[in-house]
Amino acid sequence: MTTNPAVVFRPTLSPRRIAAYAAPIVLVLAVLPQLISPYQTQLLTYGLIFAIAALGFNLLLGYTGLLSFGHSAYFGLGAYSAAFMVRYLGVGSMELFIVGGVLLTAAVSALFGYICVRHTRIFFAILALALSQVLWTLAYKFFWVTGGTDGIRVAFAKMTLLGGAISFTGAGAYEKFVSSYYYYVLFLFAVCTVLMWVIVHSPFGKALQAIRDNETRAQFVGVQITRYRWVAFLISGTFTGLAGILWVPLNGLVTPDILYWPFSGEIVFMAVLGGFRNFTGPIVGAVVFNYLKAYAVASTQYWQFLLGFVLVVLVLVLPTGIVGAGSKLMEKLRGKDKAGAEEAAR
């Protein structure tokens, strides 16, 4: 029998050990803005937002085995719904953006997902892509509604957080926005991560993994594969949509570019960069990708080449991504330690 090296049985960590791993990371993330410049804080905020999107995306790729090349649709929908609320309803409350945007992206992902999950593999990817491009052309062509390629501006000065408790006017408003928005995003990121962890370790998540590993067997033991895939699609799209909503005030501008399919490619890139067979892979991948892109764009006009090169090398040499390669390295080191200790004992 052949075993797929990408699928390794690993016992679930106990809650106490997870807390032991997560606590220092959360602590560092909480202290970091005090130490770094506002620009760096902003970059990190972008990274965390993309991490939410990649987490959502990976529920489909990593846990259900469906590669969506259309997740720009849900990111863009979240973003545009927030922008529309500013432009047409005069709403400035972030919480209202989240409620409205999440409801909208959930509804559209339910619809698109219902269509897409009838297929798998290449056809799924292309169908998801085709549907996302419908939204892109609408945003692009109905310029009197969406602003066309000029997009819609969303000024942070008109925004409020926590139901109006925090607003950004007067002197030093920008610094105040960057730092408080960072904590706002960090909190939601933590919530999303815990939520996704619970989802993939629930019976529902296990069923998705069963579908991924063997569709026929999963069906045989009574998993309704189409419905499970549909629900996974719905959750996945909604997470990505939330990321889109959070992205708007930080970016200050929404353009059709975030609905165009190369942006879907970037989301895929993040998951692959971190390693989509790991829970933490997409998170690491999104943060690293964000830094990679920011510095590549800043240092050369040929940043696409750099990203493409990294992607090609990843696929050829490091298919398990940063986290996968890292954990393999750790295992090897630990194995050596054990062997060394045994030898010393002898």
Binding site: I122, A130, T137, K141, P262, V272, F305, G308, V315, L316
Partner: protein, 292 residues
């Protein structure tokens, strides 16, 4: 009436280009089961190389020579394809197909910037051919002769490719390999060579599409990304891996698009994507795809 004739000719012109791109995409998928996301970039590369050859390198040369130079872009793209297949794609045939999508997406990013670096950010044209070909009257209006030449090239390419796949020995080998790679290999066929050739021919088609479009439209950044999506729509409607499907899909997409630009410009592209989605839903293998 004259508007109608001109729009009809425009549709067929557009269909010829789309067919060349989509047929290459379909051929590569049919033989190797790879959806080549860099295919649009190959089309753009063909356009750039030909535009550079005609517009810059051989500017001012006699017109017949320019016509001879037209296929340069296609040949260049075929060579690139013959290099890409063994180096980037071959290591991935035993891996899940997601990785093949990813590597061609990486290739797309690389090619876009290589073209940007090599040819600069300014659009390149090969208008000399267009100007030299002149126009002919369509009732009260005039229509460029060159567009007719493109239509003729499209028809020749369609017949040529069909004859190549269904009437030559290599075509038999190609079809045998696409049906069962391991069996073909066991029968002593050099599958590696077949794959290189198939990929190079697919790239050649895309490059040819770019090469013949460039006298009438400039080669500029981003044309590849747009072309890829339209080619996807064509092959999804016609059926991935089917040559007839690519032809019918290209005609359908072109006519819908021309009608769309005339009558419903806002949703012209959205309608195309919705048609593709509808076809995938009702007949996943496309209008001409084999049902397995």
């Amino acid at each position: 009436m004259d508007i109608f004739i001109i729009q009809f000719l425009n549709s067929v012109f557009y269909a010829s280009i789309l067919f060349l791109i989509a047929a290459g995409l379909s051929l590569i998928y049919g033989v190797m089961q790879i959806v080549n996301m860099a295919h649009g970039s190959f089309y753009a590369l063909g356009a750039y190389v030909t535009a550079w050859a005609i517009g810059t390198a051989a500017a001012g040369a006699p017109v017949p020579l320019l016509f001879v130079l037209l296929p340069v872009g296609a040949v260049a793209v075929a060579i690139v394809g013959a290099i890409v297949e063994p180096t980037l794609l071959r290591p991935l045939y035993n891996r899940p197909e997601e990785y093949q999508l990813l590597i061609t997406f990486g290739l797309l990013l690389i090619l876009e910037d290589v073209m940007h670096f090599t040819f600069g950010g300014v659009p390149l044209t090969a208008g000399a051919i267009m100007d030299a070909s002149g126009t002919f009257p369509v009732m009260a209006l005039r229509y460029p002769v060159y567009n007719l030449i493109v239509i003729v090239i499209g028809i020749i390419a369609a017949i040529g490719l069909w004859a190549f796949i269904y009437r030559t020995k290599f075509g038999v080998i190609l079809r045998a390999t696409s049906q069962n790679r391991r069996m073909a290999s066991a029968l002593g066929l050099n599958v590696k060579q077949v794959y290189i050739l198939a990929f190079a021919i697919g790239c050649f088609m895309a490059g040819l599409g770019g090469a013949i479009v460039v006298p009438s439209q400039a080669a500029q950044l981003g044309i590849g990304v747009d072309a890829l999506i339209l080619a996807f729509v064509v092959v999804v409607i016609g059926g991935l891996g089917s040559l007839e499907g690519a032809l019918v899909g290209a005609l359908l997409v072109s006519f819908v698009r021309t009608a769309g630009i005339q009558f419903f410009p806002e949703i012209e592209l959205a309608v195309l994507y919705l048609i593709a989605a509808a076809v995938l839903l009702i007949r996943p293998t496309g209008l001409f795809g084999k049902t397995t």
